[in-house]
Symmetry: C2
């Protein structure tokens, strides 16, 4: 029997499966090994812990987990850049004036009230479509204040590889973020290979309004859902309807998502990205205004969760730029 | 050049595309032709109205569109059957007593207040997992009062074929129902081939509660989202993040969903299932307590929507039983 093409192709497949490294930007170590062992244990049909593809759900926080979040949430920089475009007459508060001046520290000093004013001025009173067009334009033009990169080039290369690896192994990969759902959907398909429908996030009330040019969905000032802490498992149930078996996060806002993921009957993998690399990224955990990780550090081990120590476990942080 | 296998396979593909009827339970006529013409126009790469697979989103109402809804919503029969299991001491109102007696008319006569009591007694105070287990058990045992069929055997065969046809042509098919999201998810995978994550519906507030045996998601008495009328486009944006290009419904509760679907830049198809067959199913539209269709009948034509006249367009209503 002569089937040279088939044989060659079978050999090539076997080579890929056996020898290719699915996570080349991860250094060898406990965390990388644990990820690969877990994926093999739930995808090998002969495994006692085999999980059917339909139930291979993986969920990831966004800020600080899939892309950077320092010196402030990127969505806040977007909001500030929108406020900068407003007429001076619209800058009716200290918070709006600080935003228009690009003074992040002064803005943060105005507290939650001030941030909500900036959010309202930049995220409401327009249609979802207009809002998303402005996000897309901003992503094209805006540059990160310290690295000078486009914001969507500040995604983590090792996490991109993890997303691809999981999808190649039959997982559906979702974002479950405290950030805005309408905002993240603009970048998720290109930046992460994640479809709009697989983005879960916080949201404002949206209203269906019939205008002269037809119906539009308007973004209103009231909060509809805060996708943080105990809200994350609730949102997972609401959007996905299944318990995930893999969850990645970076702060105590992800604690319940990891807890929910790893307390089902099926095996579950909890991953914390730990920001330990002040040279290549930022080093922070227990203190600060962003990405605070206390409970996760204290209780993660007893839950069997794994930590990606960025300095130790990641050979590369950001993708190479062209 | 001799490539017999390839040639045979190409021929077979062409045969399937050219001669197989993707909607065998639909009678020849305007509506069937319009569906097929639309699908061909958005899937042919040479077409001016070609739509990329990622944007081929189809949304369907459930009650009265994908399965029957008479003599009352099937979810109401589930609720009644749950109330029947309660202790007599728990039947503290006329509505609960009517439900426990299986007297649907008396229950409906207690109005919205009464229905909410029955909903609270049957749908809240338990975890999502326990609720869904009770729905699954009910689907196994319960039988429809007039046909004697299992409720999930009262799906519409022509609509099942339409779902399969659309998926074969690269569409993602979603349910967008006024019924309960946790309820429909129990039956959607087997009954419709629709994954839990592609079910959108009304929902109660859900709370993440850490109990002694671990975390659970508890169903609370307050309404979280009413997925009806103008709520449907809002929910579509919330769950899917894209405007659909195909929408099917059967009542004025679906008007805005069809309107939203057919007023985008891409071509959009609006389909109303019209209940005209008193012999094989039920005949109703402008009046009644369920599936009222007035505005859709009055304004559908000017929107270019299509009507599936069940008596005329459907050769078969329900799937053959084994
Ligand atoms: Ca985070
Ligand atoms: Ca309906």
């Amino acid at each position: 029997m002569i089937r040279p093409l088939l044989s060659a192709s079978a050999l090539s497949l076997a080579a890929t499966a056996l020898w290719a490294d699915p996570l080349p930007s991860w250094n060898a170590g406990e965390t990388k090994s644990a990820i690969i062992s877990f994926v093999e244990a739930v995808t090998d049909p002969a495994s006692e812990t085999y999980v059917t593809p339909a139930d291979r759900i993986a969920v990831f926080d966004n800020d600080g987990t899939l892309w950077a979040e320092q010196p402030a949430y990127f969505q806040l920089f977007f909001a500030i850049d929108q406020v900068k475009k407003l007429d001076a007459s619209a800058l009716t508060s200290d918070a709006l004036k600080a935003a228009a001046a690009g003074d992040v520290e002064a803005l943060l000093a105005t507290g939650k009230e001030g941030l909500l004013e900036v959010l309202a001025a930049s995220h409401t009173g327009m249609s979802v479509a207009d809002f998303q067009a402005s996000v897309a334009a901003w992503l094209d033009e805006a540059r990160h204040p310290t690295t000078g990169r486009p914001y969507d080039a500040m995604v983590y290369q090792p996490m991109l590889e993890l997303l691809v690896y999981l999808r190649d192994e039959g997982f559906d990969t979702y974002i479950v973020s405290g950030g805005g759902i309408d905002f993240i959907r603009v970048l998720a398909p290109d930046a992460y290979g994640i479809d709009e429908a697989q983005v879960v996030g916080s949201s404002l009330v949206t209203e269906y309004v019939l205008g002269e040019a037809g119906p539009v969905l308007m973004k209103m000032p009231d909060l509809f859902f805060n996708d943080d802490k105990a809200g994350k498992p609730v949102a997972i149930n609401h959007h996905i309807g299944k318990r995930p078996i893999f969850a990645g996060g970076n702060s105590d806002g992800d604690f319940q998502m990891l807890e929910w993921t790893t307390s089902g009957e099926a095996p579950g993998f909890g991953l914390y990205v730990h920001h330990t690399d002040a040279d290549r990224e930022w080093a922070y955990d227990r203190e600060g205004h962003i990405g605070v990780l206390n409970r996760g550090l204290d209780e993660g081990a007893e839950h069997g969760w794994h930590f990606a120590d960025m300095a130790k476990d990641w050979a590369v942080i950001f993708p190479a730029t062209e």
